[in-house]
Symmetry: C2
Subunit: 183 residues, 2 copies
């Protein structure tokens, strides 16, 4: 299968392991005025985005990996609550959220390594509640890509504050043209 | 003017100052297989993107700020070579480029601080070779937003390797739908 031959677990783990430091560098100690800014309406702030990543560590990635390994396709994954960050830990500062995300990511990657997954394990299947059969390698590739989709979103949210200040340069700055593609 | 009242120089400097650490966390020591990957054709790899940021530090942002302060609108900026990274330092590794970018950014921010810009300075005007009159505050806001547009691009370039591996999750991952908006 193309998805398993192309997917390198060690590379994905290397990427997942560096996200807490990337977010720390980008977000820790930001000026207070910037932390709560979003792109208007119900869109997410940097603080909301880190909260969403925390929720993923708690309820999505490793719990779903364990569901695949323990139950195969017989038990669909629990649906993931994309808005959990607006209920849980909503009073935490961004620095507290960065700490919590780093702590959970480290625990989850240790748990992943402890599974000692073999190539044949990566082809094991589970059942996604919306689109049916998926493989463990697809889940793990999605975990890494999900980090990048939210880094993509963060760069866009942080650029939004400068949409007018850049004047005519706006046309040259792709991040200001991005509509978000739903993420 | 809206662009100067909305623009906070200290916040922009705080953002510019953190980019080297963000890129270090995201890129230093990446698996060798990932560093040269791009989105196909003439698109840029992570190594190319850092090279482009280096070229900006050398020839774009602070040189243009000095042109505004020294010559006002009478001397148009030198056109910026968006492809300089394919000529200069093309044999440098990504780690060498990250070091060079961090060194130049630190020097440039020290030079910016040494100018002790006052609010009225931010409204001084220069001449952009393509779109005419621009203000110093627009240039400095663009410098910060340019970092974010390339972080946006980097997240997209790094996600590209997983476009097939994620299987049906592709539809949920905005970064995989991004066409780049020219940046």
């Amino acid at each position: 299968m193309a998805d398993t031959t192309e997917f390198n677990l060690n590379d994905a783990v290397a990427l997942l392991a560096r996200t807490p430091a990337t977010l720390n560098a980008l977000l820790r100690g930001l000026p207070d005025a910037v932390v709560p800014t979003n792109e208007g309406g119900e869109s997410w702030s940097p603080c909301d985005i880190v909260g969403h990543l925390i929720a993923g560590e708690r309820t999505d990635w490793m719990p779903r990996a364990r569901t695949i390994l323990d139950f195969g396709e017989s038990r669909p994954f629990e649906p993931f609550d994309r808005l959990a960050q607006f209920k849980e830990s909503k009073d935490q500062s961004i620095d507290q959220r960065l700490d919590e995300f780093a702590r959970l990511r480290e625990l989850n990657l240790a748990a992943l390594q402890a599974l000692k997954l073999q190539p044949e394990d990566l082809q094991r299947r589970g059942t996604h509640p919306a689109f049916g059969a998926v493989t463990l390698s697809q889940l793990l590739a999605t975990w890494a890509t999900h980090d990048l989709t939210h880094l993509h979103q963060l760069s866009r949210v942080m650029a939004y504050q400068y949409r007018d200040a850049v004047g005519p340069w706006s046309a040259y700055l792709g991040v200001l043209q991005c509509t978000g593609h739903g993420g």
